[in-house]
């Protein structure tokens, strides 16, 4: 085991360079204030939203609130100098309230050898493939017991887990909290959550704030299967407990969540995508569910999802679903083949809703010939059969009204390509409606339809997102040009828009395109967003 000396740890905050790549390659432009040309719009939103509205990074309690709300309406296109956004990483907020106030900021291991040495001892960590992974996620108990590793079996990484635990406790001994270590090309980020330590080792361009959000998601996935109450109790009783026993089978949920984080914009945006449906159709589906369930007391949420998209969500009055919880629900549905086989009845904890208790979920696919999944969530453990009956009724009514067909048609639709919008300059975009925590984007077209292309695009969105929401200096508008594409990000009080353009687009054309996009989104016959907030 390498000994970590205090001398190895230096404060690197001033020399941090999280955005170096972008700044080097990106041409940054000053521009005239385009706001006057831009339409102010967001889809008409009911006073109350079915989902808790989100600003990015707001999804978890201690994360940085986005500053967009406090922005002056007429801020200019901001210059992107090399240094200005380099501070946000300081935001690595400690989420463990016990130690938050005593936290130190950035740390860096000068001698990489400390970590390097460990690899010699271990087969797995020596493997080239394992080492070349862009991003590792590790979970361990505060006693150093392995819980999870994204790549490779955690069993074979015992020494590495030991080092991580040593790092955390060494710094913790002084009343400080380790947050991150930055070396050339690789960063290490730690998140301490009660009895659990989550760590990310990454070479990607993601920011500390973004990685923190991801680790928080992983943590809430664990809470979702165990409840915070159980998690805390177990480690209080036995500090040395091997949590893998209780997580058996749930690693798949964590794997799946991490893949979603790596490949989809939804979690980055803290928003969900809706299955596009004409609003009268969606309302009809909603009404069928409401009318079939209205006699059932203690039904908190009815959620219909299909193809990782939300069809409708009905809630008990005065109860709201947080998008972070909805993402956990979507993750559960997407990663659980077993729901397809039979009607299920499962406990689920929604950390944002209540981290200490389980809700009971009746989960079933609508029909053999309609692969949308219905979840009926209640606090009453005896409600399975009433819910099962309600589900039968729902399906019958939907079938009679040909609504199953409508859902199928929407599910079969491959998505709208950006070419259909008449904005040739734009290659892709993401539009997030803040009030409803929903987003929409066209199907990826070349050059983004390949795995690498899609990954690069998402990376670009991440950079844009990170800079726009940099807590130290949030931006309203950002225009970045490099040789692969030109990216434009725009945050208003109502929406966030991220657009990828041809690299050589002119600013005037880009702004024209943005206007067209926003106008197109505004047409409410698209059915891209759920704008009401139905209740039972």
């Amino acid at each position: 085991m390498a000994v970590i000396c205090p001398h190895d740890v230096v404060n690197m905050a001033s020399t941090m360079k999280s955005n170096e790549d972008l700044d080097e390659s990106g041409e940054n432009h000053e521009g005239k204030h385009p706001e006057g040309n831009l339409l102010h719009f967001e889809p008409e939103v009911a006073v109350e939203s079915m989902l808790v509205p989100t600003d990015s990074f707001e999804s978890f309690e201690q994360e940085a609130p986005a500053g967009s709300a406090s922005l002056q309406p007429d801020s200019n296109l901001l210059k992107c100098q090399n240094t200005e956004e380099n501070t946000p990483d300081k935001v690595a907020r400690d989420t463990d309230t016990n130690v938050a106030s005593r936290s130190i900021s950035e740390l860096s291991l000068v001698s990489e050898e400390c970590i390097e040495h460990q690899h010699v001892e271990e087969e797995l960590s020596n493997s080239k493939e394992w080492r070349s992974q862009e991003k590792h996620i590790f979970i361990l108990s505060s006693a150093g017991k392995p819980i999870y590793s994204r790549h490779g079996s955690e069993d074979k990484l015992v020494t590495l887990f030991g080092v991580m635990q040593a790092l955390v406790s060494f710094i913790g001994d002084d009343g400080d909290t380790i947050r991150s270590i930055h070396t050339q090309g690789t960063s290490f980020l730690f998140l301490i959550k009660g009895p659990i330590i989550l760590a990310c080792v990454y070479k990607s361009r993601e920011s500390v704030a973004q990685i923190t959000v991801q680790l928080n998601y992983v943590y809430s996935q664990i809470v979702s299967v165990l409840t915070l109450e159980q998690l805390t109790r177990i480690f209080e009783q036995r500090r040395n407990y091997d949590l893998r026993r209780l997580l058996a089978g749930a690693e798949r949920l964590i794997d799946h969540l991490l893949i979603a984080l790596e490949t989809q914009p939804a979690l980055l945006l803290g928003a969900v995508q809706c299955l596009p449906l004409v609003s009268t159709t969606r309302d009809a589906i909603t009404n069928v569910i409401v009318s079939s369930c209205n006699k059932i007391k203690k039904l908190v949420f009815a959620i219909l999802v299909g193809g990782n998209q939300l069809v409708t969500l009905i809630r008990m009055k005065n109860f709201f679903l947080h998008p972070a919880d909805l993402h956990l629900i979507l993750n559960l549905v997407n990663s659980s083949e077993s729901f397809k086989a039979a009607e299920s009845w499962t406990p689920i904890c929604l950390p944002k809703f209540s981290s200490d208790g389980f809700l009971h979920a009746h989960v079933s696919y609508l029909a053999e010939d309609c692969q949308a999944c219905l979840l009926l969530l209640t606090v009453d453990p005896d409600l399975f059969f009433p819910l099962s009956e309600a589900k039968q009724k729902i399906v019958e009514k939907l079938r009679r009204a040909s609504l199953l067909q409508s859902i199928n048609a929407a599910l079969a639709h491959t998505g709208t390509p950006v070419s259909q919008l008449g904005v040739p300059e734009a290659r892709h975009f993401l539009y997030k409606c803040k009030a409803t925590a929903q987003f929409w984007g066209p199907v990826p077209a070349p050059p983004y339809q390949t795995t690498e292309g899609a990954k690069r695009l998402l990376d670009q969105y991440r950079v844009l997102h990170h800079r726009l929401h940099a807590p130290a200096q949030p931006l309203k508008l950002l225009y970045l040009q490099d040789n692969a594409e030109t990216m434009l990000g725009w945050v208003t009080t109502g929406f966030e828009l991220y657009v990828a353009f041809e690299p050589l687009v002119t600013k005037a054309n880009a702004i024209g395109a943005v206007n067209k996009i926003v106008r197109w989104i505004k047409k409410d016959d698209n059915g891209l967003f759920i704008t009401n907030a139905p209740t039972f």
Partner: protein, 197 residues
Amino acid sequence: MSGADFKVVLLGTEAVGKTSLMKRYVQDRFHPRPHINTIGAAFASKSVSSRGRQFVMGIWDTAGSERYYAMSQLYYRDAKAAVVCFDLSERVTFDRAKQWIIELRNHEEDCKIYLCGTKKDVIEDGTKARAISHEKVLQFSKGIGAVYIETSSKTGESVVELFQLIADNCELPSAKGKEESVKLQLSKKSETCCSAS
């Protein structure tokens, strides 16, 4: 409301083959595939006929993952029969089955226990060795008044037989009770009728 006339619960360690057993019985199908954990519990019903009676059997296929143990009462409560499964080739699953049985005995006195050794085909084709002798398990189950049966969801061996046995052994207290009370009311009514006339 119960959704079925008769409640059966499947219990046992993860991957012993509960879901496969239910699928073989309800759909008469088996797909060899890597293990997919059941989440919480799955419900299926099947109408059965036994001893001249026609009724609906509701089957709860529970998840064997350890984190659900604390909640298993939620699933076996009021069950009239429990199929406690273990993998014939895995000793630990038998030990765990014994624990289920103790728990059931403590909480559900009226629940008939069927001890089920699964994946018999694997033993028979020699892929894996039997972990506990047939005699030992038989002796154990006799001792606790349970029925012992060995099944294969792959070949279908003894699967229908197991559930048929459960159906044959079952009493339908609620249905009978209902019938009786209806009869009683009827006769009462006619009595009053008579006395009035």
